[in-house]
Amino acid sequence: MDSTQLQVMATQVRRDILRQVYNVQSGHPGGSLGLADYFTALFFHFMKHNPSAFSMEANHEDVFILSNGHVSPVYYSVLARSGYFPVSELNTFRLINSRLQGHPATHEGLPGIRVATGSLGQGLSVAAGIALSKKLNKDDRTIYVVTGDGELQEGQIWEAVMYAAHNKLDNMLVAVDFNGQQIDGSIADIMGFDEIGSKFASFGWEVMYMDGNNMDEILTTVPQALSKLGHGKPVVIIMKTEMGQGVDFMMGTHAWHGKAPNAEQFEKAMAQLPETELGDF
């Protein structure tokens, strides 16, 4: 897909996010909206994957691991839209007997999910394990990882950061969703970082920066990041995003981290995201 097509898809993904959360009056719309552009670029442009025949082992495929599992609405939307499961199944988000659990899980057999995440700080370690197995298998595909920024407060993240650098896991591209917000407020107020990138760099990672809500910038920066793989260092992109991106009243605040819009707010939000030819679920 070209940039224009990707931007249309990202708009549809945002509509899917809002509808999922609105339908069950539960879920995490803010971070999901902020990540819609990067997820769309990965799943519809960069990743070599095989949605119609999901394989847990993913031999000779790129792998995606979401560490901050609470942004499941954006994940489910791109999985469905890229063909892992029917788009209509987005109607079952967070409902009883659904494969679309509140946080992503393998337990119900949803294609596209390789490990449960939600309890924070664990996905990067799992991704590093997949990176090891790809190296053992002489499989040169890439492991893409998304972590939250508040999630970096978890100690296990830094165990994995240290491990990946020491063991030269240069087949991993991690994006930190740097929206600056967490449940209780801004990260700066709660337990802030002076500068995230320098922390990764001091552990021996290759560090890049990107506006994660600018599709053209994503399309130029990610290839540069991918070209840095294979040279003995894991690569991280500190990706500035806006929580609630695309819906004016959800932006610039942590209020929509884990809150669903009411009917009026839902209509107001959807009105800001033009319908696409892809159609709602």
């Binding site: 031999n59 390789r114 995440t117 370690s125 394990g129 997949i130 053992l136 296990q156």
Partner: protein, 318 residues
């Protein structure tokens, strides 16, 4: 009472090390991870023979569990190695989410379990690990009794698909089960048929149960002794068949009374065949430094404690 010959004195962790090496020779998917305790876990032979399949994780157990999950996603059969305390309590949520709930084929191999760790004391003597692990849905929990059985169990879990907790210990301990035995996960082993009392033991305490059986025999009491090497899934049929015959039960384990083998057996009996149960276990306390045998005596996990428990159980028969 059947006679059991001690063929050697060996630590069960060495049985794990030997089993891991053999499993790795059989199956190239077997990989090992260790959090800075390679020598203690007896993983060095594996590391030497298969350096590219061995992953030193440093003192970072949470990350090790995640790495193991990821390796399992990639089709490997990861065996993690560290002390029992750091294999369970320290990393419970990592095991719960990344391994158990995600149903990953990870073998969590835990040495230095229980009081017989000895001099290092209570910080390292976990007595809660069986309970922690058996509560996780889908987790298999195994605690073999000697070197030969630990080696056989290690080989068996490599061929089984699913998460497993394998618990073993530090000290040299009597070896009395056969070399090259076939280990069947979930199958209780009848060691001695008896009529008066059923003694279900696990891990190091199986040997104490055998010694207790000999003393009981001298007193004219016929003890049935059953080795429960797999605490989950528990061989309920073996438990019920024996309890139906003897009508009183003793459990013996190197673990807290809360959450261990005794609880599992009491639950099966309460639901199916209410029977008096006496438990030989640590009574809701932490351990301390000391020699393994001194600790077993002080915390009432010794042969004489199994004998006394059997006599109490018999006295309670209805």
């Amino acid at each position: 009472m059947k006679k059991f010959e001690i063929t050697a004195q060996k630590d069960t962790r060495s049985g794990f090390g030997a089993g891991l090496l053999e499993a790795a020779r059989h199956d190239e998917r077997v990989v090992g991870l260790c959090a800075d305790l390679t020598g203690s876990l007896m993983m060095d032979a594996f590391q030497k023979e298969y350096p590219h399949r061995f992953f030193q994780t440093g003192i970072a157990e949470a990350n090790m569990m995640g790495l193991a999950s990821g390796l399992a996603i990639g089709g490997k059969i990861p065996f993690t190695g560290t002390f029992a305390n750091f294999s369970t309590g320290r990393v419970y949520d990592q095991i719960r989410q990344s391994i158990a709930y995600s149903h990953k084929n990870v073998k969590i191999c835990a040495s230095h379990a229980g009081l017989t760790l000895g001099e290092d004391g209570a910080t390292h003597q976990i007595l809660e690990d069986i309970g922690l692990m058996k509560m996780l849905p889908g987790m298999t929990v195994i605690n073999p009794c000697d070197y030969n059985q630990t080696k056989a169990a290690t080989l068996a879990i490599a061929q089984y698909y699913g998460p497993v907790y394998l618990r073993f210990g530090r000290p040299k301990w009597p070896v009395f089960t056969p070399e090259n035995q076939v280990f069947e996960i979930g199958k209780a082993l009848m060691l001695n048929e008896g009529a008066d009392v059923s003694i279900f033991a696990t891990g190091h305490l199986v040997w104490k149960a055998i010694q207790a059986g000999e003393i009981l025999a001298e007193k004219g009491i016929s003890a049935e002794i059953i080795n429960i090497h797999t605490i989950k899934p528990l061989d309920a049929e073996a438990v019920l068949n024996s309890a139906r015959k003897t009508r009183c039960v003793v459990t013996a384990e190197e673990h807290q009374i809360n959450g261990g083998l005794g609880d599992s057996i009491a639950q099966i009996l309460a639901r199916n065949l209410p029977t008096p149960v006496e438990m030989v276990a640590v009574m809701d306390s932490f351990g301390e430094s000391g020699k393994p045998e001194e600790l077993l005596t002080k915390y009432h996990l010794d042969t004489s404690d199994v004998v006394a428990a059997a006599e109490r159980a018999i006295a309670r028969k209805i």
